[in-house]
Amino acid sequence: MNAPVKFETTLKDWETDQEVRWCPGCGDYAILKAVQRTLPQLGSDPANTVFISGIGCSSRFPYYMETYGFHTIHGRAPAVATGVKLANPDLDIWLVTGDGDGLSIGGNHLMHVLRRNVNMQIMLFNNEIYGLTKGQASPTSREGTKSPSTPIGSFDHPARPAAFALGSGARFVGRGFDVSKNLPEVLKAAHAHQGAAFIEIFQNCIVYNKDVFNDFAAPKGAEDRQLWLADGEPMLFAGGAKGIALDVQALALKVVDVTGDNWQAAGVLVHDVTNRSIAHMLVELPFGPFPMALGVLYDDPSPTYEAAVIEERAKSSAGKEANLAKLLAKGQTWTVEANEGHPTD
């Protein structure tokens, strides 16, 4: 979106010479490959691309991307990225964070980068656990999660990243998971969006929270448990046998059975990525009674923060001269005349 010139690159051009240090089998590997596969398709320029991260397993990501990269401090990546973007709006910024980094210690910054609408892609790797600190419950851990810090099971209510993002004012909310073949399409849509694009990526921590997403991500029976949303397409799953309709009485979504191809008759909704009300329902959709809503849940651009900053700067500088000598002598002044024999300095 930021590079007017399409660059010719291959996946290899985006790999660094650094040894990847995630645990063997970690979902992060799959996300890394998906990103490295997507960037050549976008025509991105490595020199114009910046990966900025906080702290945690996911935040090691920049070291493995042959781009500019800034591995900052815990939770603060959105703030650093905001400064980078305001200093150079032409840079294409990818933010990498996790459920602990982005929603616990950095929740405040994530909220503000979203509501300000700073143009960047925000990938939140949600593995529902603190991996790098050896497995404590995170703000997205499900109730009852046993961990070193919650030996008989966690009891605080998990945060819902996509709902948090939308509630913070995000104008793009997407969802995918590490090994999904659809992840690059979600990334491309996020990149095409002008503004803060939030992508929740479910990621399998094979050491501390193994297969916690298998309930919807396991290949077997996936079509019954995954609702892939596409703009202008009916919200169908289970091979088209089921769909999502609006329960007008309850003002809520419901699952309906579809007979044959006649989804219209069943009242299945056509996905409109600009419909914020439906987006609120989609991000709150409880998994179990409903399939997991994936893909682009919401995409309705509004003016970006950096554009507003540039406009404000132009407006407040209009007709003003940047003359330092004049600035220093501003306001009411008086002159002391040189006396005879008084040295001027």
Binding site: G69, H71, N88, A322
Partner: protein, 622 residues
């Protein structure tokens, strides 16, 4: 400014023809005392007197009317000789209500003049100020001259033609008082009238009412001169170096210095801030200077403010952030990131009383440990301290220079006193400052390889802007390998990088320490830093005039310290370190030089008085 003969406090008493006068305006926080003081300051500056001010106001925005904790005061010391402090004790106290009288009476010089508004000395207000009897009537003010009359009624009378209600009319009381003060010191009302007309451009009635009140106060002085203690005084202009002058507060000076510093570095400036007293004024000033390539960003919190500034520096601008003690504490971890990633950054700390929320509107110098030592790990960072509002301009430029030349965060210390106080300032010529243009790496710096942590002769690494073709690299807070900047936890590497960071900061070129008064060697050196300059300088000069062997040394570069400072301190028999904290710089000096530095501490939220320091000097030499 020329230094004239040292005067004793007695010589400046109001009853004689003084070289300097101290006036304190005190009233309710809603009475507009800061505004009155500010305009009186302007008229004083325009009259060519040297001056120093001390605004002292409560943390509450609108404290309940008439209460003791709601008293707001503005003190100004002005004269026909050099002025370094806001004055120890007022010669004149203007008390707009009983609470203002009670809170400020103790400071008033014996024989000084009290001007009081009898209209506010009602039973109700006396109760609020916890007076059992009316001090204006019970003889308790016998050791002072008292001029008490109904300023409230006179103001209402003066603005009557403008049809304002009593409540609105009374809002002009401060202008009436200002008019009287302008008469007392033979000042021109013109600039104040211009200012009122500009301020109330859209409400000409209000402007006229205020001007009427101002004129009425002035006229009252003229007619009342015949009776009582009120008399007019004219103080000749101070003998100053020729040139163009204006008044400036520390917050303005820091803002202008940062703009100048960015221009000298040939960089756009990015300022990340979060509202906090007394630092917010810098954000407000810079927000109006966008035409100088300034971006101001009001962040969601202190941490975001510094992190965004670091991000902007990473992307090639001059990142700046500013706060006060508690906010600086929040920024600590990010300062470590700037030290680790070796990016330029200026952090302005307008110190206030602490710990925790402490005294938000009162001054203190108690963040020196935090500035020099207050981060995790071995995290060296240059620290500079401004000694006066005008000096803050020079210090801000110096902070920008060190940050850019050494690729390091730099902390600039001011305090609540410097931030709010005003002084005359000889407008500097930007052409007199040597530029220090920032250099960005444009191509690989080691044959075919890029070494993001290869150091130059100063120990600084190259500044590499994202967006530069072919120089992609990664930085971060994890320890990096020498030269390559790759992640490296190896023992020898951490030793080498810790040493490199330390050596770089220790190697920052700092001018040799000069002596502000007196000479090297002798019985006593009084060593100060920051806003104690004024009172120390006056106290040392007065002591020297009495024949005492004492010198004044004032340190700007707190870290690294000037190379000659250790030898200089050792040339004195005794070293006394006055500070508005419990002895922080004293500890640094003892640690660095093994000198027997003795502390003189004050943590009342008020600056040192000259008398306190003179007593301490005499004690040390006894």
């Amino acid at each position: 400014m020329a230094t004239s003969a040292v005067t004793t406090p007695q010589a400046a008493a109001y009853s004689e023809t003084p070289e300097a006068v101290v006036v304190r305006f005190a009233g309710d926080s809603g009475d507009g005392m800061q505004l009155t003081g500010g305009q009186f300051t302007l008229s004083t500056a325009l009259a060519g007197n040297d001056l120093a001010t001390f605004p002292d106001f409560p943390a509450e925005i609108r404290a309940p009317q008439g209460t003791l904790f709601g008293v707001s005061a503005f003190q100004i010391n002005f004269g026909s000789r050099q002025i370094n402090t806001a004055g120890d004790a007022p010669d004149v106290l203007v008390a707009m209500n009983p609470a203002a009288l009670k809170m400020n009476l103790a400071a008033l010089k014996p024989g000084g003049l009290i001007i009081a508004d009898t209209g506010e000395f009602s039973k109700r207000n006396l109760d609020k100020a916890k007076y059992d009897t009316n001090p204006l009537e019970d003889g308790s003010l016998a050791k002072w001259d008292v001029l008490a009359f109904d300023i409230s009624a006179l103001t209402i009378e003066a603005v009557k033609p403008f049809g304002l209600g009593n409540k609105d009319a009374l809002r002009s009381k401060n202008m009436w008082t200002l008019g009287l003060a302008l008469w007392m010191f033979d000042r021109d009302r013109g600039p104040i009238e211009d200012w009122l007309k500009a301020k109330f451009r859209t409400k000409p009635d209000i402007a006229d009412a205020n001007i009427a009140a101002l004129n009425a106060g002035h006229a009252y002085g003229e007619t009342a001169e015949l009776s009582g203690p009120l008399k007019q005084l004219h103080l000749d202009p101070v003998e100053s170096a020729p040139g163009l002058y204006r008044t400036i507060t520390g917050a303005e000076a820091v803002s202008l210095g940062l703009v100048a510093g960015a221009q000298l570095a040939e960089l756009p400036m990015f300022f990340g801030g979060y509202p906090i007293t007394p630092a917010s004024a810098i954000l407000h000033h810079l927000a109006r200077l966008k035409e100088f390539g300034v971006t101001t960003f009001q962040a969601e919190d202190e941490i975001a403010a510094i992190c965004a500034a670091i991000g902007a520096s990473y992307a090639g601008q001059l990142g700046v952030t500013s706060s006060s003690g508690p906010g600086i504490a929040l920024k600590g971890e990010a300062m470590g990131l700037a030290i680790m990633t070796e990016l330029p950054l200026v952090i302005v700390n307008s110190q206030r009383g602490g710990p925790s929320t402490g005294l938000p509107t009162k001054t203190e110098q108690s963040d020196l440990y935090q500035a020099v030592y207050g981060r995790n790990g071995d995290a060296p960072m240059p620290v500079i301290a401004a000694r006066s509002p005008g000096d803050a301009f020079e210090c801000a430029i110096e902070a920008c220079r060190i940050a850019v030349e050494y690729m390091t965060p730099v902390m600039l210390l001011t305090d609540g006193y410097i931030a709010n106080a005003a002084e005359p300032w000889k407008v500097p010529d930007p052409a007199n400052y040597a530029p220090f243009p920032a250099k960005f790496l444009g191509s690989k710096n080691d044959g075919d390889a890029l070494l993001p942590y290869k150091r130059d002769g100063k120990g600084a690494r190259p500044w590499i802007k994202p967006g530069t073709p072919g120089l992609m690299h990664r930085i971060g807070g994890i320890e990096k390998a020498v030269d390559t900047g790759h992640i490296d936890y190896a023992p020898d590497n951490h030793q080498a990088m810790t040493d490199a960071r330390k050596n770089k900061v220790h190697g920052v070129a700092v001018p040799d320490q000069d002596i502000a008064a007196g000479h090297a060697g002798g019985k006593l050196a009084v060593v100060g830093w920051g806003s104690t300059y004024g009172p120390i300088h006056q106290a040392v000069n007065r002591s020297r005039a009495k024949g005492l062997d004492v010198a004044h040394i004032h340190v700007r570069h707190i870290w690294p310290l000037p190379g000659n400072l250790g030898e200089l301190l050792k040339s004195y028999d005794k070293v006394l370190v006055p500070e508005m904290n419990t002895g922080q710089f004293k500890t640094v000096l003892r640690d660095q030089y093994l000198v027997d530095a003795q502390p003189l501490t004050k943590t009342s939220g008020q600056p040192f008085t000259i008398a306190e320091l003179q007593t301490a000097i005499e004690g040390a030499l006894a």
